[in-house]
């Protein structure tokens, strides 16, 4: 295995002992094919047990290890050392308060997720005995992509609007609302619109598209938000210009 010397520059902050964050340099010798998370684990095991960060699956599905790597939001378990020839700067995800070191406080995101009612509100309730709802592969495809969000919050760290306007519901939660709105089994769009079409909802997005660029699962939140904007616009016209269409 080809070894390589890696320099990590890691943001450290312990609210009990530090007045402000600072950077700490770690120099480790690693196999070339390691990811940044492997290097952090190596530091924690051999150099500094006090370094704090979240991780679990090491396969880009649990969404724990989002962090800023050389100023870009990344999953540490899928960011390869080979793509970073120089010193690698590692910081907690931007736009979230730092709890400690690389651990952020995700409360705002978690609360916003719940606010968009991200669960099926059935169009027609169905007893279990009646079996599954029919849903064709084409109907599944309409929303499938938006189910793939792992809640890693990279899109919030990338979103300039969220940085400026913390009330903004943000890419992942809006995509999730859109996911249920697009589901052939769901009839809850009206209930979700209160949040989704609000000032803090889709209209806050200025379509920079950074969310989709950083999404490790290719969910394309920007597309979800633009689709939702079109739907909201249609709603508005129906309501204001063609009131007779309203049920």
């Amino acid at each position: 295995m080809a070894e390589r010397k890696v320099e990590l520059e890691v943001l450290r902050y312990n609210p009990e002992t530090d007045s402000e964050p600072h950077f700490q340099r770690y120099s480790v010798s690693c196999p070339e094919e390691w990811v940044v998370l492997d290097a952090l684990n190596h530091v924690k095991e051999t150099l500094d047990p006090t370094l704090s960060y979240r991780w679990s699956c090491h396969m880009a599905v649990c969404g724990s290890c989002g962090m800023m790597i050389d100023n870009e939001p990344k999953l540490a378990c899928k960011t390869f050392l080979r793509d970073y020839p120089g010193v690698i700067r590692v910081e907690p995800l931007r736009h979230f308060p730092i709890q400690r070191d690389l651990v952020t406080v995700p409360d705002d995101f978690i609360a916003k997720l719940a606010r968009v009612k991200p669960y099926l509100i059935p169009k027609e309730p169905r007893p279990l005995e009646a079996g599954e709802y029919r849903q064709t592969p084409a109907e599944l495809k309409r929303y499938k992509q938006f189910t793939l969000c792992i809640n890693c919050m990279l899109c919030y760290a990338a979103c300039p609007e969220y940085g400026l306007i913390p009330d903004y519901i943000g890419p992942a939660a809006l995509s999730l609302a859109h996911r249920y709105n697009q589901d052939s089994r769901d009839g809850g769009r009206g209930e979700r619109q209160e949040e989704v079409a609000s000032k803090a909802g889709v209209w806050e997005c200025s379509f920079v598209g950074a969310c989709s660029e950083v999404c490790p699962e290719h969910v394309d939140p920007a597309a979800a938000i633009q689709q939702a904007k079109i739907q909201s616009t249609v709603d508005w016209y129906k309501e204001h210009l063609m009131p007779w269409l309203k049920k």
Partner: protein, 587 residues
């Protein structure tokens, strides 16, 4: 210490914990439910399950087939009444998830699609591409958000159960964010803490799978059952241990040795089936224990491919074509390219067996209740037992749904049986003692042992001695080593003595859980002098139904290795027979 009053406390918010929480909230909106987890629910390891969940749905299948596959797959160590309950409830639970929005893959007519899996006689694995566990977890988590009675305590690590007068009456936990301890007073507790694969160095399991739930129950006097049965999944990436789902083979992928031979035909799983036309319960659709064991045998013969990470076999999916791989196995393709630099569309992927799942766990009955009144358990941390000596792929996601719900119903039955609330003084004393133990660990100095050092020694001894094939010498050595590590663990010293998100402390506690689980594994394995399912002994190569058609029960004994006791298996109608994976099973 601050306390939280709840009717039911659930420890763990993965598939089983969330399913239990929803069942409780639906059954009685007045119940106060405390859902406590050391991680945010969507980080739970259920998310990493790929292939799917088994449940009879198609007209050519039957509950009896699912029962027989499961019992035979488990080498007759399953409790058959529990398996009956599993297979009967499975379709309802999977339809329930569908009604909650789970994006199951579909047939052209809009009905749910199923795929073949190892050891199954029919197609009965419901799937959502190759991210089935991920979708199940997120569907459950999102569904749970509509129930205000489910109060979540995310990133709280439970250190102990509160027990009063022989009844479980709550838990004590550390809030990671503050380092503060909190007592949860609950009339019933459900443990859904997941498996313990992290005892081993090479595993598909995420970092969080450290057997905490098992250790909680074990230390409170509930035995750990059938712990010697550790499942190796045949196909992990050699570089990282990342799982490549059994669905790779369900969809038609084949396993080759270094000479390009489909070697499973040499280990009783032939005759060779035509490429791209998998036959149920044959060749690559054999059960996981057999396939992993065949790898080991073949490796001994020098027929495996040496790689920089050790010997590997080849998983060849090229004949499936890019379209099928993208549609049905997108994660597998992504992982293979990312972590191995191999695209399964154009090249076979090197793989090797990897620790995946604990068949054993907290001893429960088929109502998910333990012998400690008030305490229930479900999911991988529990052993009902429906998995016996070897779990069939796609039964675990089903299990956590069926028994997650069952645990909730049992907890309600327990509450209704008029269980008295525990005495305030006893609860306060229990919580204070728990806090004292954490304080002692935090303040200890001069011990000289490190978490990373002890953990490494534990992993090495498990890898060397408790793997696919075992011997009495190796197991005895492992037992001695683990006793030593348990003693040295008392001298473990933290580097980090601060309160906020102290992962040094967290890892020390997790190591304590793993050491207890590891000792239960090796002591139970040493005592089981036969070969059955995933427990293979080079010195006792045959199954011995006379002496060992019994569940092992490792009973905690403070300061000493566990005592191993036995209990008869529940056999209702399937007498122990020969496990046939030689082409006859699919007929």
């Amino acid at each position: 210490m601050e306390s939280v009053q709840a009717d039911v406390a659930i420890v763990g918010a993965g598939g089983a914990g969330l399913r239990a929480a929803i069942a409780l909230a639906q059954a009685d909106p007045g119940l106060r439910i405390a859902l406590i987890s050391k991680v945010y629910p969507m980080r739970s390891h259920t998310c990493a399950a790929e292939g799917g969940a088994a449940g009879v749905i198609k007209p050519d299948d039957s509950l009896e087939h699912h029962f027989n596959d499961t019992v035979g797959g488990g080498d007759w160590l399953c409790d058959q009444d529990a398996v009956d309950y599993l297979v009967q409830e499975a379709p309802k639970e999977l339809i329930q998830l569908e009604h909650w929005g789970c994006p199951w893959s579909r047939e052209p007519n809009g009905s749910v699609a199923v795929r073949p899996f190892g050891g199954m006689k029919k197609q009965r694995t419901w799937f959502a591409a190759d991210k089935s566990g991920f979708h199940i977890l997120h569907t459950l988590f999102q569904t749970s958000l509509q129930f205000p009675s489910i109060q979540r305590f995310d990133e709280f690590y439970v250190t102990e159960l509160l027990v009063d007068e022989g009844r479980c009456a709550g838990v004590v936990a550390i809030e990671m964010r503050s380092g503060q301890m909190r007592a949860f007073h609950a009339r019933a507790v459900i443990i859904a803490g997941g498996g313990a694969g992290r005892m081993f160095p090479f595993t598909t399991n995420g970092a969080i799978k450290t057997g905490d739930g098992m250790a909680l129950a074990y230390r409170a006097g509930v035995p750990l059952k059938d712990m010697e049965f550790v499942q190796y999944h045949p196909t992990g990436l050699p570089s990282t241990g990342t799982l490549l789902t059994e669905a790779c083979r369900g969809e038609g992928g084949v396993l080759l040795n270094k000479n390009g031979r489909r070697f499973l035909q040499d280990y009783g799983m032939g005759p060779e089936t035509p490429l791209g036309k998998p036959v149920f319960k044959t060749m690559e659709l054999g059960p996981r224990d057999r396939v992993s064991q065949a790898f080991w045998q073949e490796q001994k013969k020098g027929n495996m491919l040496p790689t920089q990470w050790g010997d590997a076999m080849l998983l060849d999916m090229r004949h499936l074509g890019e379209k099928t791989i993208n549609e049905r196995l997108p994660l597998v393709r992504d992982m293979s390219i990312s972590y191995m630099g191999v695209d399964p569309v154009t090249d076979p992927v090197p793989v090797r067996p990897v620790v995946h799942y604990m068949m054993g766990g907290i001893d429960t009955d088929m109502r998910a209740a333990t012998r400690l009144p008030g305490l229930h358990a479900a999911g991988e941390c529990a052993c009902v037992s429906i998995n016996g000596a070897n779990r069939l792929g796609s039964n675990s996601l089903t299990e956590l749904l069926v028994f997650g719900r069952r645990a909730a119903l049992s907890a309600i039955e327990y509450l209704q049986s008029g269980a008295r609330p525990a005495g305030a003084a006893a609860l306060a004393a229990g919580a204070a003692a728990a806090q004292g133990r954490i304080r002692e660990l935090m303040q200890r100095s001069g011990g000289g042992e490190t978490v990373a050092g002890l953990r490494k020694e534990m992993m090495q001894t498990m890898e060397q001695n408790a793997g696919i094939y075992r011997t009495s010498e190796g197991l005895a050595e492992a037992c001695a080593k683990l006793s030593e590590l348990r003693r040295r663990y008392r001298k473990v010293e933290l580097h980090d003595k601060t309160n906020v998100y102290n992962t040094d402390l967290l890892q020390a506690l997790e190591l304590g859980s793993m050491l207890d689980c590891a000792e239960a594994v090796t002591q139970s394995a040493l005592a089981r002098k036969e070969s059955r399912g995933a427990h293979q002994r080079l010195d006792f190569t045959a199954r011995d139904d006379v002496s060992f058609l019994r569940h092992s029960l490792a009973v905690y004994s403070q300061g000493d290795p566990p005592r191993v006791e036995y209990r008869d298996v529940v056999i209702t109608r399937s007498k122990p027979g020969v496990r046939d994976y030689s082409g006859g099973g699919g007929k």
